[in-house]
Amino acid sequence: MTSEEPNTSAPAQAETEPAETPLVPEAETERFESPPILLPAGDQPVDPRTITLHRWVGLLSLLIPSAILFLVLTLTWLFGGLPGSVYGSLVTGLGLPIVALGLWLWHWPVLHYRHLRYRVDRLGLRIHRGVVWRRSISVPTTRVQHTDVTQGPWQRRYSLATLTVHTAGTQGASISLAGLEHETALRLRDHLMTSRDHGE
């Protein structure tokens, strides 16, 4: 912290009785025993296979419609519905943006992956994400109402999963983290739920 460090009530709080919800520095929060499940410390990336997954999903959702489009155009041209010059300019006019979009869809998952980090510790779950808009959200374990681990058909192929944490909140009523390895997702879920029960 710089000299601009906010002068909050931390010293004042030391005078009041500690039972009152104190501003606990991370190290002092020993309210839960050491987590029963071994978790890697620090910020973690999600599973790198999520890049492949995103690429496939992105490219397929681009390639299938464009293939159909080109097929229709080509057939129309072959059967004389379109003059050759119009066909040529249509193909280049549509083709170039589609190729550009394809390259972007190839590259984007890497950026997305690089900027997605999570951390699960005694306090709870923290997620950092966003390439252009950087968001980070923290959910204390004591606020976790319930959790879901879901696997879509594509995710199952790569044994990936999405962990969703539900709180009693409003905008942040459910916070999900996609691209975890299924095993990891289950372990995180167990950790969040058990330390929640410890906290109760």
Binding site: E4, P6, S9, R31, W133, I137, S138
Partner: protein, 525 residues
């Protein structure tokens, strides 16, 4: 089970009919208008087609509807073909809202809505109950939480206000004068007035000045006649201002009258762990709010508030909707956009602080150390305005130059844009930043903002559901971030904890502290 079935009040069918009929108003009107040239002949038919089934439906509903107090939950049975039995655990009930309009009061009954944390629509509507039954319902549903559960006792006495004064302490009462001030200070006022003024200005060039001024002659003072007769731009502008002023005054007066009726005799009382507000002249509303269900408190004061030396204290509680609106209450309340309710509609600011300290100590702003937003925020905000206004002005000048041949506005007039916008922006930004700030007490996080309309919001650590930190593209260029806090039952409108323009190191620090503090507390439904 010694507790037996309870039924609705014998006159319920009357109110059920009305509520069913309300749902049919649209189709009814449609049929009425669609029936074309001779609607008179069909009125009896409508009566038979619509009212009779509605009446029968109401009678059946009254017969099948029953409720029962189980050991831990309220069980409600309803439905003819599809039988439905709903169990609502007592400890999940957040609010028992009692609404009485003049008809209810005439017949000594009340509509009761049972609200839980689910937000949105109420869990159950009991339309209608006798006052004794209301009292019993309140005891049964709200008391097990605070103390030992009482035996089921049905009191036969039907006093006028059966739930009054049982170990209650009255916290405040709002005098009528303050309600008028409240209406003047909030009102649907300024926006409507501006819109009206704007419309007026649009038609202004086609306005029949001669006629109007003739009509006004003789009944208006000399200065007004002078204004009307000289058709110059300045006098028209003055006249426009006058009209706007008149509209503002009219709307504000209407708002004052409305607030006076709606919040007539507003009282806030405390009984054990519950707060109760009672208000309303025509439709009497009575709400019970458990203190620990309050999630966020906002104290706000507009210019007029400060002129009257008053502030408005609002709160958001998980799962309650705005029972204050009669229409909502009677239609069964689709979630209103803002679920905010008054803790105290009009109060001296110092009293507001002491009220919070006494009633909801977690929210007390007494020990807050206020911190400003980033020192670089001013430069950023002013810079943004300049970057927007300068190109716009240039564009405007160019456009006016290009169309000069067809238009009489000289391009110099485009300079009005920066001349008006820049000083306004300067004052607005400086004022806003002077009053904006964040702070932490030992139990809560605070955020205040606003220049003319100022608000302070507060959320105790124990009510924080999650903390998020966002840095937009522009934020990152200046190394800034926004911190916001999510709570249960947050509405879409209103001031909340969303602290923008923080230096990112400060934002990191707030984020870390709030996260740790929230993690160290339990959230109590």
């Amino acid at each position: 089970m010694e507790s037996d079935l309870r039924r609705l009040h014998p006159l319920s069918w009357l109110f059920l009919t009305v509520s069913f009929a309300k749902g049919l108003i649209v189709p009814l009107l449609f049929v009425l208008f669609a029936s074309g040239s001779n609607p008179w002949a069909r009125y009896e038919l409508f009566g038979a087609v619509f009212i009779v089934p509605v009446l029968v439906g109401a009678l059946i509903k009254q017969r099948v509807f029953s409720y029962r107090f189980e050991a831990d939950e309220l069980t409600i049975r309803d439905g003819v073909l599809t039988r439905n039995e709903r169990s609502i655990p007592y400890d999940r009930i957040h609010n028992v809202a009692v609404v009485r309009n003049p008809f209810h009061r005439l017949l000594g009954v009340a509509s009761v809505r049972i609200e839980t944390a689910g937000g949105g629509a109420p869990e159950a509507i009991l339309r209608v109950l006798g006052l004794g039954a209301v009292d019993e319902l309140r005891q049964q549903t709200l008391e097990p939480r605070t103390g030992a559960r009482r035996e089921v006792t049905v009191s036969d006495e039907t006093t006028d206000a059966p739930w009054a004064d049982r170990g209650e302490s009255r916290l405040l009462e709002i005098p009528p004068l303050d309600l008028i001030k409240l209406g003047l200070a909030t009102g649907p006022g300024i926006v409507l007035a501006l819109a009206a003024g704007y419309l007026y200005q649009l038609q202004w060039w086609e306005f029949d000045w001669i006629d109007t001024s003739k009509w006004l002659q003789g009944q208006s003072p000399e200065w007004l006649e002078w204004l009307l007769q000289s058709g110059s731009l300045g006098s028209r502008f003055l006249l426009g201002c006058l009209v706007v002023l008149l509209v503002v005054v009219l709307l504000r007066s209407a708002s004052a009258a409305w607030h006076l009726l709606k919040y007539w005799n507003f009282t806030l009382a405390r009984k054990g762990d519950d707060l109760r507000t009672d208000y309303g002249m025509l439709t009497n509303v009575s709400l019970v709010i458990p203190v620990h269900r309050i999630q966020l408190v906002t104290v706000r004061a507009s210019v007029l508030h400060r002129w009257f030396r008053r502030a408005t204290v609002e709160f958001e509680s998980a799962g309650s909707s705005d029972a204050g609106s009669d229409l909502d209450a009677q239609l069964g309340a689709a979630a209103s956009p803002s679920r905010r309710q008054f803790l105290a509609p009009m109060l001296e600011p110092t009293e507001a602080t002491s009220l919070l300290s006494r009633v909801v100590p977690d929210f007390s702003p007494e020990s807050v150390v206020w911190q400003p937003l980033s020192a670089r925020a001013r430069r950023r905000l002013l810079g943004r305005t300049v970057k927007l206004v300068v190109p716009l002005t240039v564009l405007l000048v160019v456009a006016l130059e290009l169309t000069a041949r067809f238009h009489w506005i000289p391009s110099v007039q485009a300079l009005w844009l920066p001349l008006l916008v820049l000083p306004y922006s300067y004052f607005n930004t400086t004022g806003w930043l002077r009053h904006a700030g964040w702070g932490l007490s030992d139990r809560a996080v605070f955020y205040r903002s606003g220049w003319l309309k100022r608000s302070v919001s507060m959320v105790p650590f124990s009510r924080i559901q999650s903390v998020s930190q966002v840095a937009s593209f522009f934020d990152r260029r200046r190394d800034m971030a926004t911190i916001s806090v999510d709570t249960a039952g947050a509405g879409t409108l209103g001031h909340r904890i969303q602290i923008p323009y923080l230096d990112s190191s400060v934002a990191d620090e707030i984020h870390r502290r709030l996260f740790a503090a929230a993690a160290a507390t339990e959230f109590d439904w």
